[in-house]
């Protein structure tokens, strides 16, 4: 059996060229999923194109207009600790801090996690709630997609052959925002049984806008415009939160798996949503 070839280019166009030339080549970011799959012999790519030397994929930069660009090779640990993630963007730091364990967060990257698109992972719901843009580059050039259009299904994204996630762009959120990434997992470090990502826009103590997204409750992050309208427009009584949670539970499309049954997930969603919104409000604007 021939050994897998290993490439470590310094330039992004070289990496894209290698991936485009060989449909059995796989890009390697932090390796926290890919190497586990190699170890389990689920994959035997003809070539691995490691992205670790490519400077264009690294860093966190503030852009004109208040957007924040996050390079694809940024680790979960770096995001969890990043002082650049302020206001609504704190949501992403909260999600990053809940991924796996410290040793995993020190190596795993946002680009790798986004491209892998595990519906139980923590970033997809957070990125959809933040209306993030996924930056892509491939053999036909650059493009970007809103997160909710990027995630297409279980481990399935809008990436075409030869394309890579090069970064994530967070658009400016509400001037005053409260956030919460609420995750229910069987044990510390596990994937979510269900998660809720919340961004509330605040004005003089009133909730003026709301983004709520469920993770682990369908093949892609689940949204409900009706639930968001209820949260944004009303005094947040228990009844209002219950109604919003029921709308999200109805929009969910969970499966039975090792982390819980579909029925269990539907049953816990309203409580998790209420807890997430209340926690965000208790924490206040960041």
């Amino acid at each position: 059996m021939t050994d897998t070839r290993f490439h470590a280019p310094e330039r992004l166009d070289e990496a894209i060229g290698l991936l485009t030339a060989d449909d059995e080549a796989r890009p390697l970011a932090g390796g926290q999923t890919l190497v586990a799959m190699l170890n389990a012999e689920l994959l035997r790519p003809r070539a691995i194109v490691s992205l670790h030397r490519i400077a264009a994929l690294k860093g966190v930069e503030r852009r004109a207009g208040g957007s924040l660009w996050i390079g694809a090779m940024t680790t979960h640990s770096a995001l969890a600790a990043s002082a650049e993630l302020r206001g609504a963007h704190r949501l992403l730091a909260e999600a990053a801090a809940r991924i796996g364990h410290e040793a995993i967060r020190n190596r795993g990257t946002i680009g790798g996690a986004v491209a892998h698109a595990d519906p139980s992972a923590d970033y997809p719901a957070a990125l959809v709630a933040l209306d993030a843009e996924i930056e892509i580059e491939g053999p036909r050039g650059k493009r970007s997609l809103p997160a909710h259009q990027f995630f297409r299904g279980f481990l399935t994204t809008a990436l075409e052959p030869g394309e890579l996630v090069t970064g994530v762009v967070l658009l400016p959120g509400p001037a005053k925002a409260a956030t919460r990434f609420e995750k229910l997992a069987r044990v510390e470090g596990d994937f979510a049984t269900a998660s809720v990502a919340v961004v509330l826009g605040l004005d003089a103590g009133r909730v003026t806008s709301a983004r709520l997204t469920l993770g682990g409750c369908g093949s892609v992050p689940i949204q409900s415009i009706e639930a968001e309208q209820i949260i944004a427009g009303h005094t947040l009584s228990d009844a209002v939160l219950k109604k919003a949670g029921e709308l999200l539970a109805a929009a969910a499309d969970p499966i039975d798996d090792v982390r819980g049954t579909a029925a269990y997930r539907r049953a816990i969603i309203p409580g998790l949503v209420a807890r997430a919104v209340r926690s965000a409000l208790a924490k206040g604007a960041a």
């Binding site: 290993f6 190497v35 170890n39 691995i48 490691s50 364990h101 995993i104 020190n106 190596r107 470090g189």
Partner: protein, 159 residues
């Protein structure tokens, strides 16, 4: 740009050239099979159990989930770098003194993780210790003594 057949790392304080016999070999495989550093334990190979935890540039990482070829220029510390049978490091000695070692298989990963915790947080609370070792599974379920060992190490290192 293609395969680097030889990489250079600083392993337990010593600069080493490592010839890559195969490009997809993980750090764990190279440490155990090529270099004979069998203190780093191989259990799940999925990054879940924590028994292969090492420090890379000072930060905990799973040796089973890293392709060695990506580590050119990095500094790696394994359990062998923290002390020896004759002269155990302070965290190793505290684990012995606290009676934290049962079958011993998870201990290298636990001690690496605890060492990293105490470097960043010299006097951690019990909750912080629990959180820090939550990614290190002990199938003897000897967690209580492990937590006591980390507290003992903390009291000795930062009295």
């Amino acid at each position: 740009m293609v395969t680097t057949p030889t990489i250079s790392i600083t392993l337990n304080g010593t600069r080493r050239s490592i010839a890559m016999s195969a490009t997809t070999r993980t750090l764990m495989t190279v440490l155990r099979d090529d270099l004979g550093l069998t203190g780093t334990k191989d259990a799940c190979s999925q990054g879940v159990c924590g028994s292969c935890t090492v420090l890379i540039d000072g930060a905990p990482a799973r040796a089973c989930l890293i392709l060695t070829a990506t580590l050119d220029g990095a500094s790696v510390t394994t359990i062998e770098g923290l002390g020896s049978t004759e002269a155990p490091g302070p965290v190793q000695q505290a684990f012995i003194d606290a009676g934290a070692i049962q079958c011993g298989f998870c201990m290298p990963g636990m001690i690496i993780q605890a060492t990293s915790l105490l470097r960043t947080k010299p006097r951690p609370s019990r909750d912080e210790i629990r959180h820090a070792i939550s990614g290190n599974l002990c199938r003897c379920s000897g967690y209580a003594k492990v937590i006591e060992a980390v507290e003992l190490a903390a009291s000795r290192i930062a009295p």
